[in-house]
Symmetry: C2
Subunit: 239 residues, 2 copies
Amino acid sequence: MLSPANHNSSLLPDTHPCNGCDARDLAICGVLETDDLDTFRRLGCSIDLCDGQSLFHQGDAATRVFTVTLGMLKSFRILADGRRQVTGFHLPGDFVGTSVDQEHQFAVEAVGKSRVCAFPVNRFDGFIEEHQPMQRELYIAATRELVQAQQQMVLLGRKTAMERVASFLVLLSDRLGHGSVVELPMRRSDIADYLGLTKETVSRVVSELKRSRMIRLRAIERTEILDRTRLDSLAQGDG
Amino acid sequence: MLSPANHNSSLLPDTHPCNGCDARDLAICGVLETDDLDTFRRLGCSIDLCDGQSLFHQGDAATRVFTVTLGMLKSFRILADGRRQVTGFHLPGDFVGTSVDQEHQFAVEAVGKSRVCAFPVNRFDGFIEEHQPMQRELYIAATRELVQAQQQMVLLGRKTAMERVASFLVLLSDRLGHGSVVELPMRRSDIADYLGLTKETVSRVVSELKRSRMIRLRAIERTEILDRTRLDSLAQGDG
DNA sequence: CGTTCGATTGAGCTTTCTCAAGCACAGTGG
DNA sequence: CCACTGTGCTTGAGAAAGCTCAATCGAACG
């Protein structure tokens, strides 16, 4: 198993105060009756994570499934020499760790203070076995993620640095923007590793976007989109 | 809708001689009883495609689902200015066009002579609704594809040209290699658009791999892997 | 008020791309 | 049977986007 040197995350404690999940943050709540939802909640165990804390590493046994209930997580994969690719950011309602393999193919860590709800796989599988609508919901979630992953392939394979950053801002604005303000809780290096760039290039491009008045930085983690139209067309690759 | 100028594929005829599918090439045959499989076969309609012929374009209404029964298909997305990203190659047994959206997000074309089995979505959905094991099978297929897509993100975001080509050869060797010989029915430009490179770079890297005796070209579309170990470690990023 | 850690900016370098020419092979018609 | 032509592959030379390394900046915190 890989265990990169510059890895400051601590392992997840195996036992943890178990206080159930907040139903509102479970993605599947929409397809479950109140009783069933209650049953489902009780299968899980809430876990708090602080910034950079690891939920699991690549190669770990896939013994639990998670839903994000608070904050943000990132999943990534690391090559032998330390090169890292962030494959996604996960928000409340997202499933994490639903692998068909015995081992996790990717690592998952918290971005800022976060909370997840953990389900032992056997209990989780047992539950969805008995709840058809949830099976379908999981399938739809996987398919959506797949389309998202394919969009990301286009970005990584064919877009310029500026188009990548524009796409990223537009994506986050759609997922967690309040009006024209986008929260960026992750580090520049996380963005860089998500976009297949270096943190320096991300920094330079953000500066360029500021200079051309498409965005403004309220704070380092609070970006305001000033010209959504131009940012959109940049993101689409016809800017 | 995008319709790039240099696009020589012809549209799929709406009506076509319907002669059913070969059961052996349907991915799901493993989870269906003989009777059910027979029923399933009859829902579909076999379609032959010649090289470069389009199954559907991005933006087309998603009215049918397909399984590949012969040959190979590629799915891809094109940006406004013609830049193209191939997101995957599909072999017999693979599902294609199983979108949750009303419109296809990606285009699919044949690589060489190919054959698919087409199912109207409503009939397809109706069938899987009544066959639990198939739902599960579809979910597993989607999850596998997702992991594969994430691996591809690592490749596109963080690997060098040489590592990308090595990864590609290893991948294809695992999927359709006979011993150490890999069939490459697609064009160099398809490989390039899959790996986020130019066809010139792919050509140069292949030449370099030949020069360093890791591979040998029996014919242009028949590559023999001479040093699998070295190619593997290159592909993993620690060569 | 100093320290620390991440973000920014700069200068030079490397990898890959672009553009262009030449090559190989299959299909076609004289 | 062989030149002709078209298409895709290869190779080369110069250009460009983004990377690396290094210095500086700036906010948070003790």
